[in-house]
């Protein structure tokens, strides 16, 4: 088993996928290392890659005119980093900055979209997983809107 295959198999995000699907994904994936402080992508850039964090912490930041950026969320080991590559116009909506040294699996977005469209079973499995991540982050955002810790005052 290749190292990439083993990494993909270990990720909870991909658990339950058939071996042949894992093999397709492993063939598309490559591991990257990102130094602490580096921007992995910037708001408005073309979303050319899909990333899954293997280790380290990444901050999703909203740049603000004349002020320090605000961190809206951090993602960590095993988390998917962004889904702007999935839907047109395929542009990132936040900055992603490595808070620590980061290793990640990266997939070329165009290739991944092609695989998703040509193999509907894999496409369904991927969309189900991304849908779950989106729902979970939407719920987390709603909780923050409710001011979870302040009794709403």
């Amino acid at each position: 088993m290749s190292n990439t295959m083993a990494q993909i198999k270990d990720l909870k995000f991909f658990s339950g996928l058939k071996r042949r699907h894992l093999e397709v994904l492993a063939a598309l994936a490559k591991e990257i290392e990102v130094e602490k402080g580096t921007y992995i992508f910037r708001e408005g850039d073309d979303a050319l890659r899909c990333l899954v964090v293997l280790s380290g912490d990444v901050a999703l930041e909203l740049p603000m005119q004349g002020r320090d950026p605000r961190t809206v969320q951090t993602v960590h080991d095993g988390d998917v980093l962004g889904w702007s590559w999935l839907y047109p116009p395929h542009r990132w909506t936040f900055d992603a900055r490595a808070v620590t040294d980061v290793t990640a699996l990266v997939f070329d977005a165009e290739q991944l979209r092609a695989v998703k469209d040509s193999d509907h079973e894999l496409g369904f499995q991927l969309m189900t997983r991304f849908g779950k991540v989106m729902v979970s982050r939407l719920q987390a955002t709603r909780m923050r809107l409710m001011d979870l810790y302040g009794n709403g005052d």
């Binding site: 912490d57 901050a59 320090d68 950026p69 605000r70 961190t71 809206v72 969320q73 951090t74 960590h76 080991d77 095993g78 808070v99 987390a140 909780m143 923050r144 409710m146 001011d147 979870l148 810790y149 302040g150 009794n151 709403g152 005052d153």
Partner: protein, 280 residues
Amino acid sequence: MATATELSIPQLLDPMPCVVRAVNRETHDTITLEVEPAEPYHFEPGQITMVYKHGVGEIPISISSDPDRHDRISQTVRGVGAVSKAIIASHPGDVLGIRGPFGVGWPIDQAEGGDVAIIGGGIGLAPLRSIVYRVLNRRDRFGAVVILVGARTPKDIVFAEELREWGSRFDIDVNVTVDTADRGWHGPVGVVTNMIPRAPWDSSKVTAFVCGPEVMMRFTARALREDDVPMDKVYVTMERNMQCGVGLCGHCQWGSHFVCREGPVFRYDTVAELFRIRGV
């Protein structure tokens, strides 16, 4: 000192004078008062007191100090109403009246032999702080000890210094997350429930103690369930309008429960339905 169950009703209604010895500012609107009781004070983590500010009024406040120390007690108070604002304006040397401790505390003994999850939101960390002291005083009786804390911003984190101190120990895992932050914050950003799936406990052996606003506890319980933590191992503490403290006045009634007597700590599965009833 006699326990609440050994005292008569008139004794339970009579505040004990306690001298404020220290006032520690936690956040812009929250302080921790360290008070010296008139006689040695015994309580269990999670129990509650009624704190009386002379000439202003009385409010329920949980105890946030080390339960194995009997000469001082700490009370963490957020100034939101007339009485709490008067209490947080206290100075060393002032005298407050304290009744209690009342109610049922956290069943820490039941967590012995297993892992411990202590999950607090905002000022909800206050009634959990006593658990941390108790667990650390008897550290060899527990497996993994994990503290998860959520706050609005880094400035809203209570007991920040102690959290750093606990986090530097090798026998306890401390994770603090905030809703939003600037570059000065190096920790996680997101809600406290985000940290549950990657928490280093054994879901089949963990006992979870949760405190925060009710909506936070409800979502935390849901996240724990999704993490395969049995709901009969999850405990929450309820805040209600306690007044007499002894189950007579009914102000703190929550469904069929009197929070001051049967609570404030409840096993989640015994009250989960009440969380779903609007207006209770």
